[in-house]
């Protein structure tokens, strides 16, 4: 049977799209994972979110050529997935965060006791971060990524750059108050 030229063209196009998708995965999977983990704080959940993000890209692979900045676009996709998952999932107890952080945080030259104390401190700080209003918290979490500029954060969140700055200012003030308050209670 003769193969129509259109079928050959389709196959070639699919091959190109597949290669482009593989390139995106190789280039940005790690960044997307870190963004997902910063919100979900669970390795398997973060990996699932990355997988889902690329599946969404696969569904809209026809529009890949129209995207200017793939990195910001992908971060925005995974960010929406992560927020959606976080909203739907039940709030986990703080002890889970401590155990997870003790497992994943780097512990160069730290004893087991120091490592546990550091994990507890970080977990406490993260609890305070979770108490921030959503808008301020989101900006603060994204600003921790060194590779993201304020313009890119604004693009991910769909706000202006000045809003990013004002929200970060408020977040820092609120965070300082929260940490001081918790210290005074101890």
């Amino acid at each position: 049977m003769e193969i129509a030229p259109s079928a050959v063209q389709d196959e070639a196009r699919e091959q190109v799209e597949e290669e482009a998708l593989d390139a995106l995965v190789g280039q940005y999977a790690s960044t997307l994972y870190r963004v997902a983990f910063s919100i979900l704080r669970n390795p398997s959940d973060a990996e699932d979110a990355v997988q889902e993000a690329f599946l969404r890209v696969l569904r809209h692979r026809d529009t890949l050529g129209e995207i200017r900045d793939h990195r910001v676009w992908l971060i925005r996709i995974v960010w929406n997935i992560v927020l959606d998952r976080k909203r739907r999932s039940k709030t986990r107890p703080e002890t889970d965060d401590v155990a997870e952080l003790a497992r994943v945080l780097p512990a160069h030259g730290l004893s087991a006791e120091q490592r546990a104390a550091a994990a507890q401190h970080h977990a406490h700080v993260l609890t305070c971060v979770d108490q921030l209003p959503a808008k301020e918290r989101e900006v603060m979490v994204l600003s921790a990524f060194e590779e993201l500029t304020s313009v890119e954060i604004a693009s991910v969140l769909g706000i202006t750059e000045s809003s990013v700055r004002s929200r970060l200012f408020r977040a820092r003030n609120l965070m300082a108050d929260l940490l001081n308050h918790s210290r005074s209670l101890r």
């Binding site: 963004v35 910063s38 696969l58 971060v129 600003s143 921790a144 060194e146 590779e147 993201l148």
Partner: protein, 178 residues
């Protein structure tokens, strides 16, 4: 975020928020697990081969413009002939219309009932007319059996309205005279 040249946010290390930002930076800098890319790629390839393209439309006509089968070629290019396409469309219409007509002729309309069945009237406890028939009220006054004479009919013409007035005046004048 401050060490990177792209990130332009101010440093707050040392303050309360600085602690929080240090923790967040620590988490943001955690490396991805090994084999993440391979797992994601494997998942994508699996999805790609299971469902090649979700919303693909059939191409019409079935051949491409560069197809040598186009424009009157005999090798399967019958779809390109407008006459044959029209004939095929007409055949489809004929079959569909014929099927519909056959269905219509097979279905017999329901026969109308010859007798109208009245709904049953409750014997006790319900209201009924008791076979009463409403008759309109007729006139109770005198009935003329023959026409009036012409003289009477003539007097009761235009002057009939004035006479009672005169009588009334006369009746009212009598008591004053006494």
């Amino acid at each position: 975020m401050n060490s990177h040249p792209h990130n332009t946010f101010d440093s707050h290390t040392g303050s309360g928020s600085g602690e929080a930002e240090a923790t967040l930076r620590l988490i943001a800098g955690l490396p991805a697990p090994e084999g993440l890319e391979e797992r994601v790629k494997a998942g994508l390839h699996q999805t790609l081969h299971q469902a090649p393209r979700s919303a693909s439309l059939l191409r019409w006509p079935l051949t491409t413009p560069h197809d040598p089968m186009r424009s009157g070629s005999t090798r399967g290019g019958w779809m390109q002939s407008p006459w044959l396409r029209g004939a095929a469309a007409a055949a489809i219409v004929f079959v569909v219309a014929g099927g519909g007509w056959e269905v219509c002729t097979r279905i017999q309309p329901a026969q109308e009932p010859k007798a109208i069945a009245l709904p049953p009237v409750a014997a006790h406890g319900g209201f009924s007319s008791a076979n009463a028939i409403r008759t309109p009220k007729t006139l109770n006054g005198t009935v003329l059996t023959h026409p009036l004479p012409d003289a009477v009919a003539g007097k009761k013409g235009p002057d009939s309205s004035k006479k009672p007035v005169k009588k009334a005046k006369a009746e009212t004048a009598k008591p004053l005279g006494h």
